[in-house]
Amino acid sequence: MPAKRRVAQLAMLAFAVAIVMFAYANVGLAIDQKIPAGMLGYGLGLGGLMLVAYLVLAKFAPWADPLILPLVTLINGLGLVMIYRLEEVKAFGASASTQLMWTAVGVVMFTVTLIVLRDHRALQRLTYTSGALGLFLLISPLLPLIGVSQNGARIWIGIPGLGQLQPAEFAKLALIVFFAGYLVAKRDVLALAGRRLLFIDLPRARDLGPILIVWGLSLGVLILQKDLGSSLLIFGTFIAMLYVATQRTSWVLIGILLFIGGAVVAGTIFDHVYARWEVFLDPENQAFYDRELGGSRQLMQGLFSMATGKILGTGLGQGHPDLIPLAISDFIFPAIGEELGLTGLMALLMLYALLVERGLRTSLAARDPFSKLLAGGLSFILAWQVFIIVGGVTNLIPLTGLVTPFMSQGGSALLANWILIALLVRTSDTARQPPPQAIQDEGMTQVFQR
C-alpha cells in the first residue's frame, strides 16, 4: 500500500530549494565576488512559495506522489538561476524577477487547481468543451486584433495591459483532456481489427477519421502559424494516447507514416521547413551559418557552448552562455550545459526522466481508463516536449522551437506546466489512496465526491 511520505516530501523540497539557493550564491560569487544582495528575498520567496504548495498539497492531495513537487521545484529553480545569471550579464530579454513572478503565479495556479478540482474525473464530462477550447486556443493567434506574429511564427496573442500569451501551451492541456475523454468513449471501436497485413492488424478504414483530423489540425498549426514544435508535440501525443487506448501498434505505424508524409509535403512546399532539415544535416556549413533566416548560427552557438562546458562545465557565472542568441528561452539547455557541464546536463535529464517516470507510474496505478489516459498523456507530453527541444538544440533531431518545460523564460509555458503538474498530482492522489480507507479518512471534506 502506498504511503503518504509527507516528511520525505518536505525534506526533498527543502533540499531542492537549498540546491537552487546554493547555485544562486554561486552565480553571485563568480560574477560579483559576493553573495547576491537579493538572495535572502529570492530564497524566502521560493521557499515560501514551495511551502504553500506543499501545505496545499498535503491538505488537498495527501496521497499524491511525494517526488513530483520537489522535482518540479528543482527544475524550475535551476531555470531561475540560469535566467538570473544571464540577466547579470545583460543578456537580451533576461529577467529573473519576471520569471520568479510567473513562477509564483504558476504555483498559485497549481494550488488553485488542486483546491478547485477535487476530482479530475469531472473533466471527463467536459470532453467536448475541452476539445472546443483547445481548438479555439490553437487558432486564436490567427485571429485578427489579438494575434501577434513574432520571430516568423504566429503563436502569440496580445492581451491589452497584460502582455502576450502563448495559447498553444494551454491548448495542449485542453487537448489532452479531450483526447483522454474521447478515446475512453471510442477506444473499443478504434481497437476493432480490420484487414490483416503481414503481422499487423490494420484498423478499419472508416475509423481513420479521428487520426486524420488531428493530423490535419497539426498540419494547420504548422502551415498557418509556422510552429513546427507545437505541431509535432500535439500529433505525437495523440498517437501515443491512441496507442495506449487501443493497444494497436498499427495506429503508431499509421501515425508515423502520416508524419513522414506531412513532413515531406511541408518540406517540399515551405522553405522554412526545408531549411531546418538542411541545417540538421550540416549545421557547421558556413553558408547555413551565415543565413539570416533559418540559419544554423544559433544551433552552432549552442553546440559551441556545450562543447566548451565539456564534462564538468565552466562553473556557474564563469562561462559565456550569453553568446547563444536567446539563451533564456529555447536554448537554455545548452546554456546549462556550458556552465554545469555534461555532469549537470545528465543530472537535469535525470530529473526530467524521473518526473516523467513518476507520472507514468501514476498512470499505471490509476484505476479507471480516463485517469490512465489523462496521466499517461500528461506524462508523455512532458517527455515528448523535452525530447523535441533538447534533441533539437543538441542536433539529435531537426530543430523545432519549443520551450524547455519549467526552465525557459516565459509566463504561458510556466503557468500551463504548473497546471499540468497539478492535474498529475490530482490524478496521483486519487490513484494512490486506498479506496475503502480514503472515504473514512477524508470524511466531510469530500464535498465534490461523486
Binding site: 496507442y243 556545450m306 565539456k310 559565456h320 523535452v386
Partner: protein
C-alpha cells in the same frame, strides 16, 4: 491499458537515453574539436581570462598584461610599454592570433605549457588562477634604443642586429619603420583587423622584421667571408701578403668586366690583402674567388651559418644564400660577383652579424638567441639560456688576421666614422647594388673591442648610399658606433 503504458514508459526512457547519449557524445567525445571552431567566440574571450606573463629586457618591461577589473569581458589587456622600438621582437597578442615573441613563447606566456605543469598543480590546490610565465630577453635596452634612434634618424628603412660574440646573445634587434603593437592587442576584432590591414598594406612594410625576415645583397661586407676562405686556403698568407689588384678584372666568357668601385684604381696594381680590404677593392676579391673556386667559397659560407638549418631564435629566421640557380662552378663571372656580395648573394642582417661575431670570437660562431630566461609568476626559473656553438668558421689564426685587417678598415680605411675613442673597433663597410636601379644599400658590420669582443653589430640602411663607396661607411658606420658605445659605456 497497462501493457501499452509500459511500452510508452520504455519509449520515454529510450528518448531520454538517446538525449543522454547525444549529450555525452557532444560534451565528452566531440567537445575539443567543436569548441576549437573559429566561430566559437569563447576562445576569443578566454584569451583575455589569463594573466599572461611579462616580456622583459632586464629591468625594462616590454609587454605586460594589465588587470582592467574582474567584471570586464576582457579582464587582462596586453600593453607594450616598449612600443615601436621593440615591436619587431615582442610582436603582439591579437584577438585571434599572436606574433613573434608572443607567438614563439605563447605556451609559457599563457601558462599552458607542459613546463608549467607543477605550477598549475600547486595553483589548482591553492585555488589560484595560474598566471603565465615571464620571459626575459637578452636585449640590452640601451643598445636597442640607441640603435632605433640612430636608424630612424637616417629617415630610411633598415635593420640592425647586435650580438654578444662570446655567447650569441642578441643585444639589439631593430627594424625600421616599425609599428605600435598596442592598437593591435586591443580586444576588438574589427578594430584590430582594420589597424592590421592598414599596416599590412603600407608600402614600407612596417610589419616585416627586416633584421631576420628579409634578405639583402650584402655587398662589400661579404668580402670578409671571401677573405676568410682565401686565408684558410694557405696558412702562409697574412695581411701583408700581396695580391694582384688590376683596375679592371677581366671576367671569362663574358663581355663584362669587374671594375673597382667607380672604376677607380686600387693601389699600384699589386696590393696587400689588408689594403684590399681597407679600400674595399673589387678586383682582388674577384680574383681570389676565381682562384679558390666555388666549392671553397661555399664551404666557408656554410661554416658561418649560411644556407644551413633555418635558425629559430626562437623567432623564425629567413635563410641566407650564396647563390640562386646559376652554376658558380662553371660561371666564373658570377662567382667573382658573388664574392663581392652581389649577384644572387642574399643575407639577413642577423647572418652578417653572426659573421662579424664569429670573427671577433676567434672564429667560433655562437648560435644566436633572444631568450635569456623564463621564470614562472612566483619567480621560479623554468629555463635559462645555454650558449651553444653553431660552428667553427675559421681557425684562431685566420680569425686574428681577419680581425687585424678589419681594425685597419676602421683605423685607416673606409670606416673611420665607426671609431670609438679608446676602443679598438673592427669593421667592414658595404655598398650593395640593387637590381632595380634604386640607390644602393649601405651596410656596415663591426665588433668591439677587438682584444676582448663584447659586441658585434651588423646593419643595413636601405638605399642609404647616395653615391661613393664612402657612403656605406658614411651612413651606416656612425649608427653602429652609437650602438657599440651604448654597450661599452658602463
Amino acid at each position: 491499458m497497462n501493457g501499452p503504458l509500459k511500452r510508452v514508459a520504455i519509449a520515454c526512457l529510450l528518448m531520454f537515453g538517446l538525449l543522454m547519449f547525444n549529450v555525452n557524445y557532444l560534451q565528452a567525445v566531440k567537445a575539443d574539436k567543436l569548441s576549437a571552431d573559429s566561430r566559437n567566440d569563447r576562445n576569443f574571450y578566454n584569451r583575455y581570462e589569463v594573466e599572461r606573463g611579462r616580456i622583459t629586457a632586464g629591468d625594462k618591461v616590454l609587454a605586460e598584461s594589465v588587470d582592467t577589473g574582474v567584471n570586464k569581458d576582457f579582464r587582462f589587456e596586453r600593453r607594450y610599454p616598449g612600443g615601436k622600438v621593440y615591436a619587431p621582437i615582442t610582436g603582439f597578442f591579437a584577438p585571434e592570433s599572436e606574433r613573434d615573441m608572443e607567438r614563439a613563447e605563447n605556451g609559457l606566456l599563457n601558462g599552458s605549457s607542459a613546463d608549467l605543469l607543477i605550477r598549475r598543480g600547486i595553483d589548482l590546490f591553492s585555488g589560484k588562477k595560474t598566471k603565465g610565465a615571464n620571459v626575459d630577453l637578452t636585449i640590452d635596452p640601451k643598445a636597442q634604443e640607441a640603435a632605433y634612434e640612430a636608424l630612424s634618424a637616417s629617415g630610411k628603412k633598415g635593420a640592425l642586429v647586435a650580438i654578444e660574440p662570446k655567447t650569441g646573445a642578441i643585444r639589439a634587434m631593430v627594424s625600421v619603420p616599425s609599428y605600435d603593437p598596442n592598437p593591435l592587442a586591443k580586444p576588438n576584432k574589427a578594430d584590430v583587423n582594420r589597424a592590421y590591414n592598414k599596416l599590412d598594406k603600407n608600402a614600407d612594410k612596417p610589419l616585416v622584421n627586416r633584421a631576420i625576415e628579409r634578405t639583402y645583397p650584402p655587398g662589400s661586407t661579404f668580402k670578409v667571408v671571401t677573405m676568410a676562405a682565401y686565408l684558410e686556403s694557405d696558412d702562409s698568407l697574412g695581411p701583408q701578403s700581396q695580391i694582384d689588384a688590376p683596375q679592371v678584372l677581366d671576367l671569362p666568357n663574358t663581355t663584362h668586366d669587374l671594375p673597382n668601385y667607380a672604376g677607380a684604381a686600387c693601389g699600384a696594381g699589386r696590393v696587400t690583402l689588408s689594403f684590399a680590404l681597407e679600400k674595399s677593392c673589387n678586383t682582388p676579391f674577384g680574383k681570389m674567388a676565381m682562384d679558390l673556386g666555388y666549392d671553397a667559397l661555399q664551404k666557408q659560407s656554410e661554416k658561418f651559418g649560411i644556407g644551413g638549418e633555418p635558425l629559430s631564435i626562437p623567432l623564425a629566421v629567413a635563410g641566407s644564400r650564396l647563390r640562386g640557380d646559376e652554376d658558380l662552378d662553371a660561371d666564373k663571372a658570377a662567382l667573382a660577383q658573388t664574392a663581392i656580395g652581389q649577384r644572387s648573394n642574399q643575407m639577413t642582417p642577423l647572418q652578417m652579424a653572426m659573421i662579424a661575431a664569429g670573427i671577433a670570437n676567434n672564429g667560433v660562431v655562437m648560435k644566436p638567441y633572444l631568450v635569456n630566461k623564463v621564470a614562472d609568476a612566483e619567480g621560479n626559473e623554468i629555463e635559462s639560456a645555454d650558449p651553444e656553438e653553431l660552428s667553427t668558421a675559421v681557425s684562431e689564426e685566420t680569425a686574428a688576421k681577419l680581425k687585424e685587417m678589419m681594425v685597419n678598415v676602421v683605423d685607416i680605411g673606409t670606416a673611420g666614422a665607426a671609431k670609438v675613442p679608446g676602443v679598438t673597433v673592427g669593421g667592414k663597410t658595404g655598398t650593395a647594388e640593387t637590381a632595380d636601379g634604386r640607390d644602393p644599400h649601405a651596410w656596415f658590420i663591426s665588433f668591439a673591442p677587438a682584444e676582448d669582443p663584447k659586441i658585434a653589430v651588423a646593419l643595413i640602411v636601405e638605399s642609404g648610399s647616395a653615391g661613393g663607396e664612402a657612403t656605406g661607411g658614411h651612413t651606416a658606420a656612425p649608427i653602429a658606433k652609437s650602438v657599440m658605445e651604448a654597450v661599452l659605456r658602463r
